[in-house]
Point group: C2
Chain length 209, copies 2
Amino acid sequence: MHVESQSNDQPVLEFWFEFGSNYSYLSVMRIESLAQPAGVTVAWKPFLLGPIFRELGMHDSPFVLNPAKGRYVWRDMERQAKKYALEFRKPSQFPRIALLPMRVALLGADQSWISAFCKRVMLQNFVDDIDIKDIANVRRALTGLVHDPDAILAGAQGDDNKQRLRTQTGDALRRGLFGAPTFLVGDEMFWGDDRMEEAITFAAKSTPA
Amino acid sequence: MHVESQSNDQPVLEFWFEFGSNYSYLSVMRIESLAQPAGVTVAWKPFLLGPIFRELGMHDSPFVLNPAKGRYVWRDMERQAKKYALEFRKPSQFPRIALLPMRVALLGADQSWISAFCKRVMLQNFVDDIDIKDIANVRRALTGLVHDPDAILAGAQGDDNKQRLRTQTGDALRRGLFGAPTFLVGDEMFWGDDRMEEAITFAAKSTPA
């Protein structure tokens, strides 16, 4: 695959996302194509939404807990996907448990394959409608992107990496995140795929990290 | 004031709003300036958010119940207001009870003064930071727009009109509304100020009501 070299003096946009999150799907598919021409480096920040929602007193996705909002969200997703020329199928399971691919994404967050891997997992969830926590599907998402998918899978499931994902999720909570996708430029927060363009513009004007 | 004549063969966009809702503020200030050039007639649909939130199991605004989201929302409002060149001050009370001006808005929903009245009430809430349920403030918002503000206030507080607002709020619930602002073109729903442009575009392409 083609690997862009990222210069270290570019401004950085932190992209906090979850593979189970439908609006994160839109952002994962779009972010590099907007950030790169803007001269903004994307810092990929996978975190788990489940513990965040539980901390906020919700035992499930707000789109499940609030059926009226849930009905709306899938119609909105159809329209937004069409607007961005993205395929979309409402998942038969929502939200899907994403623990294994999230751990892989954390392990590869600063690797050249992160964007391509995340897109593949998102397409599994929101187009192919398949189980994204299944190890065979995660391996398939890695195949062709990394030299040794099984080594990555082993590393992702190591105790160190598991703990790092718990820590990163705790960081999300401490920094005030309440949903995904969320974009951070320092402490400046932008929530939702709808704010991605504004977040990138803000980042582009900021001082490099 | 200048009164636009609305031709009856224009497509109609239903605009469901609440004076207590901060994102409704952005839409109230912007909607006519976008809908008119698009050839879309705005149908003003005031409804009460309180009963909707209670029906969905919430005893207060989601921005109050979820402090992390609440903190974010006010920063987002500052940025959005700046983007649209609107004044904005975080209200010292939120959400403000808006029952009286909501009743007036219902009474005047198809009158030429509705847009100007709604803007004035919203500016009281989100710029002047004053009590919008206070009858003196509502009278002030009517002054200069209608021939006899006190007659309007009396009509707004009549039993018929009170019941109509309860009925309209029930309609909102039945049609699946879960927040404000919400835009409807037939059954096609658009939620949030972020979707107003898309709603107007969709309405413009629709068959006149």
